[in-house]
Assembly symmetry: C2
Homo-oligomer: 284 residues x 2
Amino acid sequence: MSFADHVRACNNADPARLIPLLAGDGRRIGWLLSDNAAALARFPHVFAVEKTRVRLVAEGNVETVSAAIDDVVEALVVERQVPKWRNETFDVMARWGERPLFRLDRGAVPFFGVRAYGVHLNGYRFVDGRLHLWIGRRAPDKRVAPDKLDNIVAGGIGNGHGVVATLYKEAEEEGGIPAPLVARARPAGAVSYLMQTDSGIRDDVLFVYDLELPADFTPKNSDGEIVSFELMPAGQVIELVRTTDDFKFNVNLVILDFAMRRGLIGVDDLEYLDVATGLHRPLD
Amino acid sequence: MSFADHVRACNNADPARLIPLLAGDGRRIGWLLSDNAAALARFPHVFAVEKTRVRLVAEGNVETVSAAIDDVVEALVVERQVPKWRNETFDVMARWGERPLFRLDRGAVPFFGVRAYGVHLNGYRFVDGRLHLWIGRRAPDKRVAPDKLDNIVAGGIGNGHGVVATLYKEAEEEGGIPAPLVARARPAGAVSYLMQTDSGIRDDVLFVYDLELPADFTPKNSDGEIVSFELMPAGQVIELVRTTDDFKFNVNLVILDFAMRRGLIGVDDLEYLDVATGLHRPLD
């Protein structure tokens, strides 16, 4: 592995080879693998499948469109084209901040390649003047990236929740960080990538926060998603990113962003520009 | 103006409408407007102009290839297709860190659309706990962006110079920052964009540094490129970026990057993701 390998792994999708999923107004809301587009042809009252695009034709309010798409997802789950229901829904819209067009079960998000939003928190602390990061280890029964290392707090933004509400909720559940401490977290931008997986496309945007944690704070998980935490020297974290696959795929990018912003990667690193220009895919 | 307007202004070039300039080994080293590509057809011993690409065919070492291209530039200057000699050369290579293929006069860089590298320094200071930025005003006789506001230090990386050497040189000449102080500057990533201008394409990569300056330091220009400096509250700087064209086009992006990294733009800003994902165009 190398820094740039992680960037490439998360950006292995080529939009030119994907089929755009369009909303009724013609704006793109997802990216489909060709097999997935073909699988939607059986639902002509919901999707109009054409050679170079798929259009959402189900009409109505959020409830009715969501219900029509849920019926499609149910059929896809039965056929195992979508892994399973996650019973957690994401809002779908062409652009963050707009009113959602429908809600989609998280398990079907990659199938449709709709953009998903998450929040990641870098929890750090100085020990004897040396920067350390709190690193979690994901539970072995996690569907995505079991046993992998993770940020102290990370989670998807479910429907109806905002960035800040998700940060507070996940910080409490995943890391046991009390609200007055979370209030000190600072937004630091976003990491974005377009990744092809077995089940489809991950068009992810991760809102990134940094939080300096006091010496008397130790994270404590309460939702079963993280089995342990370790306070690691930042240099060790960066070397793990550089040389291993120990971190969950996208957490490598969040840590590289932190390292870049904090001056922890030198300009003489041969991959400096790959990292500096590889973590923030422009949104289309 | 808005934040995203600055991002768009610096990313107004569409690679699909440009003609790639290829090195002898087939790797792309520049982007040509179609008129500029056509103008090179008269120099078949240097460039092979085809319909969809232009290839560098001059062979030899850096000296001989540079000399062959200098002859082309001279002809283009006479015809006013290249504005004028700048008598400062940039190294040209497919990728940063490689051995240069040739040196090109800075005045001809946009004509050939070769990637240019620069260094920008955000000089900041806390006054009564409030973050301020040292902002310079460019001289009225500057060829590019006269009278515009600028970072305290910024400059192109000339041939044979590295990132760090350029930082020290420009910091001393532009801002009068002594070397022991420059040594405290921290790298913070890079800003990159692809911009079409009247004379061609700017494929720019700016190495970004931050430096906290002490209260007893006042910048002092000695190369005539900056006529005055002002210590501005960061909030005022960001509002100037948001609402005006007062800053040099690319300095808007450097300041937005600083603001994003420092948590000075809220996640509720409607352009938050445009900024977070618009400042670091992936290099191709």
